[in-house]
Amino acid sequence: MAAIIDIKDLTKTYEDRTVVDHLNLQIEEGEIFGLLGPNGAGKTTTLLMLTTLKPPTSGTALINGFDITKRPDKVRKSIGIVFQEPSTDEILTGYENLKLHGWLYDMPDHLLKERITDVLQLVNLTDRKDDLVKRYSGGMRRRLELARGLMHHPKVLFLDEPTLGLDPQSREGLWRYIEKLAQEKNMTIILTTHYMDEADRLCNRLAIMDKGKIVVLDTPKQLKANLGGDIVRLKAPHLDQERLKALPYVKKISPCDGELCLTVENASSHLQEILTLVGKVDSVEVRIPTLDDVFLHYTGKALKNSDAQGGWTSGPMTGEANE
């Protein structure tokens, strides 16, 4: 398969800060690709450059064969975007928002009508199409934005935090639409997210970014396997880390939230030995690793929900969006 997105040394610097640092990445057609990272890692800036809204300081990228710096017009015709903040007009109806989009993309009238019917059905908004967007719930609004991003059948769809601020039910629904799209329309989807479960569920491959660079890139399954074992989380009054480290099957020891997390090969069969060694234990938890562990491992930062919701307030997310 050919790479539909080919990023070459993409860099963005602001005065003394390098936000995106010589990024190199190829994304295949039909992939759902996740871009993860803590706040300020450069995800949104990368997206803004790829969507031609911000010029790179150096380097470039090819999208659908077009250079983002030389043929932004062709790139724009090849892509669709669902932005992080609401981008539909509240005072227009759902239908009018879609119609406007079709006009902006110069779609002929008959095709426009057909596509609107099509996408409204896909996101289940047909019966609400004539309501003002003001009267939509957060989830409906997000679905409308997704529908709009798809209307012109882009080769690549960018989703910036698609489920930010949605309730679990709406998220689940939106995930199903995204999966359906990738399958039925062979669309390439690039998404940024703060939710590890979302990335795990949707992405074929994902990259974790930190300080403008890709730290690691692989399938979610492989990333978890790379950690080299299960997670044992211990809380005990006396912990002798040196002796734990000496055990051959303990791969890694790291503090987590005042407790101790061990990465242990085949934890269920070694648990007894570990517990004997530690002695008195307040609590113990054994689990298979999740993407959260992977994230913590590579960035040294845990993702908390409070961070994820920062975008709706004047928290750190706003800073990132303004980069």
Partner: protein, 259 residues
Amino acid sequence: MSELKGIYALWYREFKVFTRERSRVVSSIINPLLWLFIIGTGLGSFLSFGPVGYQAFLYPGILIMTSLFSAVFFGVYIVWDKKVDFMKEVLVAPMRRTSIFIGKILGGSTDTLIQTMILIVIGIALSFAGILQIHFTVLSILVTVVFLFVITVGLCAIGLIIGSQMESPEGFQLIISFLIFPLFFLSGAIFPIYNQSGVLSTIVLVNPVTYAVDGMRGVLIGRGPQLGQFDPWLDFLVITIFSAIMVAIGTYAFKKMKL
């Protein structure tokens, strides 16, 4: 072709929003009428210029006031569009920045012109009732509308230029209030311009709004030292040049607009 459809789309959006926000329309009509009746009647009891009462003198000034406030203020919506991501949706569409600017100008000018049209209709009604001594003829109405259109495009461009460079609506409001009030008060809209001295008279003469007021007053009331002073063609030329320059700057500002 594609650009035209995009321009139409942007115009359509502004127009729809305008028709749905009734409070905006109503307040934009009420305010000038209050001026006309309160200031016009109050000062009119001991002031008159030329052959007509103060109220009639003020009327062209009120039309300009509506155009000025509504058109320049229109720029604030672009600041709001930037705050949410609607602006990005437009900027990422495959159309030129110039077309986006034109679509916005047309949208804002349409809104403003509708408001001034309503005031013209009210003016005609008042003149039929004998309250306002103004000659409304087909020609004078037509000339007034053309003047209003040309100056509105330029004023709208000013609002959009400022809006495209600003990040907060509060900042926008602060800047335009420093701009709007001098433009309005020093345009001859509420008092004649012929008898002023020094700095004030210079400001009046470089203020493009002066020529819009002068042209409309000349055609709606008559020419004379306290009424329309300049040649109407001169008035028209000045505001056309002004608006053309503003549109040119606006096109440039939109090309350079950052998110």
